[in-house]
């Protein structure tokens, strides 16, 4: 069996631990803990790094300089931001449903972080390679809408309420085409397991070639899923101030912010895995390929985020139900026909 760099390192640690401890069960528990630690490290590091990246890229698009005061080329800006946000007063507005309100930013982080368990970072480097991978992933990531609802409804603000309702509407209309667009891949692969999907692309071609329509549909729904322009209804600044987060400040607001970046990263990772062949690639190790593709996807997301206007809520809904969903269904049909023909050839 081929193994990537990450797995080699993991096996090395496992071997050393086995030498020291000698007990299989304890070593596997420790290995799991190391994995969880690494995962959380990746999420927080990525989120911090992406705040900087987004600001720099956005500044580049907007003919500005971006952060350039704190540290060399403003590299320490995220840390300064973090310190500022943490030292802010914790304002609890009058009339909020305190428990739900305080819980929402913390709960929001859970689905974002949980999704990372299913990402194949490298050959074999996947935390939970379960046989219903995609299914679980979609189930978990769609939970994040609940926290927007919690935040919006609990904050006793009309802006928050509108934002929450918009989040639910967005989620309802974009979850369906997203799932159907991924169905084509599952049909070709014949498996819901994440590692199988990457392996299938390694053996043939990337799914972006076989499923170009599904790729476009998935990309579109991703914007709705991560609440970014052109579908940033949850917090569309010019209309409803900050939507569901209007009443949050300081560290609580920062958690929403971090979750947004964690979601952004997870969406880029998923696009890479589903359509760009995951960690597969020539010469370079799989881990490097994986991150190169992810960063490429991320840049596309940033590019669209900073050049597109926002669509209106009814336009977004009708686009989701009248264009994307039928298109995704047609894609499923054609994929089925293609597979059927392929069987006889």
């Amino acid at each position: 069996m081929e193994t990537g760099i990450v797995m080699t390192v993991a096996n090395l640690i496992r071997g050393i631990l086995m030498l020291i401890l000698g007990n299989e069960f304890i070593v596997s528990v420790i290995m799991k803990l190391i994995g969880i630690g690494a995962m959380i490290g990746v999420i927080s590091f990525a989120a911090i790094l992406f705040t900087y990246t987004e600001r720099k890229v956005c500044a580049f698009i907007q003919v500005r300089l971006g952060p350039n005061r704190v540290g060399p080329r403003g590299l320490l800006q995220p840390i300064a931001d973090m310190l500022k946000l943490m030292s802010k007063e914790d304002i609890i507005p009058y009339g909020v449903d305190r428990v739900v309100w305080a819980l929402a930013p913390m709960v929001l982080f859970v689905p974002s972080a949980l999704a990372y368990a299913f990402f194949p970072f490298d050959d074999g480097a996947i935390f939970a390679d379960v046989n219903v991978g995609i299914f679980l992933l979609i189930a978990i990531s769609s939970q994040s809408v609940l926290t927007f609802l919690m935040a919006g409804v609990a904050s006793n603000s009309k802006y928050g309420m509108i934002g929450a309702m918009r989040a639910v509407a967005t989620s309802l209309s974009y979850e369906a085409p997203m799932v159907f667009s991924l169905l084509g891949i599952v049909m070709i692969t014949g498996s819901l397991r994440m590692s199988d999907i990457v392996a299938a692309q390694q053996n043939t071609v990337w799914f972006i070639v076989l499923q170009p329509i599904a790729f476009l549909i998935y990309l579109t729904t991703c914007f709705a899923e991560t609440n970014r322009t052109p579908f940033d209804f949850v917090e569309c600044e010019s209309e409803i101030v900050a939507g569901a987060f209007t009443e949050y400040s300081g560290m609580r607001w920062a958690l929403f912010f971090l979750a947004e970046y964690a979601n952004l990263l997870s969406i880029s990772v998923l696009t890479t895995t589903f359509f760009l062949g995951g960690w597969s690639g020539p010469i370079l190790p799989g881990f490097v390929w994986f991150w190169l593709k992810t960063i490429f996807m991320l840049m596309i997301f940033l590019w669209i985020r900073w050049t597109f206007p926002r669509v209106r809520i009814d336009q977004m809904m009708s686009f989701g139900w009248k264009v994307l969903l039928p298109l995704a269904l047609v894609n499923v049909l054609f994929t089925g026909v293609g597979i059927y023909i392929n069987r006889f050839m």
């Binding site: 907007q62 003919v63 509108i162 409803i240 050049t307 926002r310 809520i313 336009q315």
Partner: protein
Amino acid sequence: MNEFETNEQPRTETYVLNMGPQHPSTHGVLRVELELDGERVIKVRPIMGYLHRGIEKLMESRTYFQCSPYTDRLDYISSMNNNYGYCKAVEELCGIEPPPRANYIRAICAELNRLSSHMVYIGSLANDVGAVTGMLYTFRDREDILDIFDLLCGARQTCNYIRIGGVAQDIPAGFDEKVRKFLDRVPDFLKEYSDLLESNEIFQIRLKDVSVMTAQEAMDCGMTGPNLRATGVPFDVRKVDGYGAYPDFDFDVPTGEHGDNWDRYEVRYKEMFESAKIIRQALDGMPEGDYMAKVPKMLRPPKGEVFSRTEGTRGELGFYIVSDGTNKPYRVHIRRPSFVSMQGLNPMCRGGLIGDAIAAFASIDPLMGEVDC
């Protein structure tokens, strides 16, 4: 029987959303009471006055010369046009005829300011429909105009350059080249805006066929300027009255067809080309001579009154001045175009969504300094 079981039908009711005075897209400090049914707007009630400084009252206790800087603070992103309007009114009251050179310089300043104001318009409209980047591009190019004003009079925004009887000083050396260099760039950056915004499908569907006004509706709301022209009425005070040096220039009055947000945007976009055309003609035909007419140090206009209007950047800017023969105006009334245009907000937003209301609000281009006076 279940305690939740009742015979009552589920009922819905409207709610009121107070947008502003602190809101990211109210262009200052406007408060708008939106009566909403879900996302749909039922009624819009603009509540103004958060920036009311009583400029009309203040002017009553200042001399005619001292009043001029107050007009800068009305519409603070097109101060030249306000100065022009005020000075023209006082000149008509006193019978002062500004020299032709002054008229040409005034036309250049007013048109440059119109360009810069329309840039702010395009930028803030883009920002309000979600394209944040548009704003940065327009503000980048507006900087060039502000630099020209800086060269001209030392101030960037509140110029107070156009004075009663002419202009404060003659155009400095290097002004001509600087303006020409800027004019050469105008088609380039306008192309850039249209590439960034107009060619975007989303920008089009956000603006087209939204907040439609017919010509009659627009006139009933007292709309003037680009907002009226977007409905197809070619009413431009520069053409209708032909004041100052404007009869000497060859320019078109762009009009729209449907009176929707898109037309309001397009009219201003095309107007920017026309303004550039006027500036170029004014530079080419700049007459020699005085830049200031003979104006007494102590200006005492004869007893009487005047209503004088100019084409401001937001519509028809009128000054009504009553003189009682002293060196201070007895009464000044300013017909502020964006104040009157605010009447159009309710008919424009009614029946739309919150996003439409924001776009409509940005598309009539009100400036709170002018609305609240």
